[in-house]
Symmetry: C2
Subunit: 242 residues, 2 copies
DNA sequence: TTGAGAACTTGATCAGGATCAAGGTTGAGT
DNA sequence: ACTCAACCTTGATCCTGATCAAGTTCTCAA
């Protein structure tokens, strides 16, 4: 995870350009965004926004991992989104955060003051367009997750999670696929609607059954992606590993 | 549920105007939409679109109830959205349906050919704007539902569902609130990630405890909304019953 | 090197909801 | 009035994942 130079004000060298909110921008539009952006780094575990807080910015994840989560008065909590580099935080047109945003690892965000961003948005159709796409993609992901939370078994949940990580973070190495998990077992349990013990046991079971190979606790090798797909219970839409 | 005259081509008398996709349209914009719309009625239980199908239209629910759902190869299924009058179906920019859409009751939709709709959209900022709002609202709702599916008990799930129905469909009568459930027990179980037996038992339990009064199987009276709020386990954000 | 805390694993037991299995209600059609 | 098919309820039992309770491993700072 190579650090980027946070002093570089230029978007030209930005590692997340291809997928980020600004991906379709012309040079002129980029200049506008350039003027109103600023970087900020959050330590692992720190809170970025709390539900109910006024939220005066929107941002893109540059490096690190953040979580979106919602909790109940008695402490039960459910992660409702995982934000990886290039993902977008916040929403134009809302002033109050509807969810907690937490830095899961050390996290660097590229912020825009919300008011200024909204102004630019209205003038630059490419940003508006990309915003709709992002919202609709997130909606698809959220609904996919609802199927997981409502109907999948613990083992299927773990397999599905590994699959999602593999799609975004995996590296091919020969026939198998290497992967470093972005979450602790505890965070995984929050994401999957399980307890940490169940996560641990099912990881052990998948390892025992040869579906994955573990090196330490975070490094995962997937020898056969189709096997994992089966375990996830999805209709096999062929692992679209870009 | 009074029928509207489906031959009336005019949007002027449309019952769902205030909330629908066209709510912000000027008369000129409305004329454009008017040209490309057509009504269609689906019998209860029939399928509107199947996941994976090409989807050449977008639509608004005019009367009746539709469900958005996703299912697994072995038959397990999860409802991921409930579409009531004024709700929007489909997404500009995607040609393939990502979910099943089913008529839960007899259902009338106001359709627009997708291509034509997209054309109009680009020319009418008010539709584009409303579309973003709708997508973001649905995203909020989906994430709220993820908390329910992942962390709530069966009783809390039922209470939460009744609350949502009360918000959209309830009628005040004195201090209490009358409500006709839009779903069968079976559909409720699909929506809540439960089995029909558990839904039935928990409804009985809420009745026994005086949280609700049942008349027949669909008619519900809620004598004390705050009591129901407690049972739902939400932070009491005061029942915003418009 | 050692110690302390965080992260993880493993085992024993429990319980909420699923599953299996009858019945009971309701309402449309004859 | 009777039949049949949805739809709903209720009871008995089972099982997955939660909970409770120790341990173990890893990281990292002193």
């Amino acid at each position: 995870m190579s650090k980027i130079d946070l002093n570089t004000k230029s978007c030209a060298s930005c590692p997340i350009r291809p997928r980020a909110i600004c991906s379709r921008c012309t040079d002129d539009e980029l200049n506008e965004l350039d003027k109103i952006k600023y970087y900020k780094t959050y330590p692992a575990g720190s809170s970025v926004v709390l539900m109910g807080d006024p939220m005066m910015f929107v941002a893109s994840v540059v490096t690190g991992v953040a979580s979106l989560s919602r909790s109940m008065v008695d402490g039960r909590m459910q992660m409702v989104g995982l934000l990886l580099p290039s993902d977008f935080i916040g929403r134009p047109g809302r002033d109050i955060a509807s969810f907690d945003v937490t830095a899961v690892s050390e996290l660097t965000l590229c912020h825009f003051h919300k008011k200024a961003f909204e102004k630019v948005t209205q003038a630059t159709p490419h940003v508006q367009e990309r915003l709709v796409e992002i919202a609709l993609d997130e909606l698809d992901a959220a609904r996919e997750w609802m199927l997981l939370l409502g109907r999948k078994t613990a083992r299927e949940k773990i397999a599905s999670f590994l699959l999602i990580c593999a799609r975004r973070l995996g590296r091919k190495e020969g026939k198998s696929l290497l992967l470093e998990l972005p979450l602790t077992r505890d965070a995984m349990s929050d994401y999957l609607g399980l307890t940490i013990e169940t996560v641990s046991r099912q990881m052990a079971a998948l390892k025992r059954d040869g579906v994955v190979v573990l090196e330490g606790t975070r490094k995962v090798t997937i020898p056969d992606l189709n096997r994992l797909l089966d375990e996830a219970g999805d209709d096999s839409d062929g692992a679209a590993l870009s």
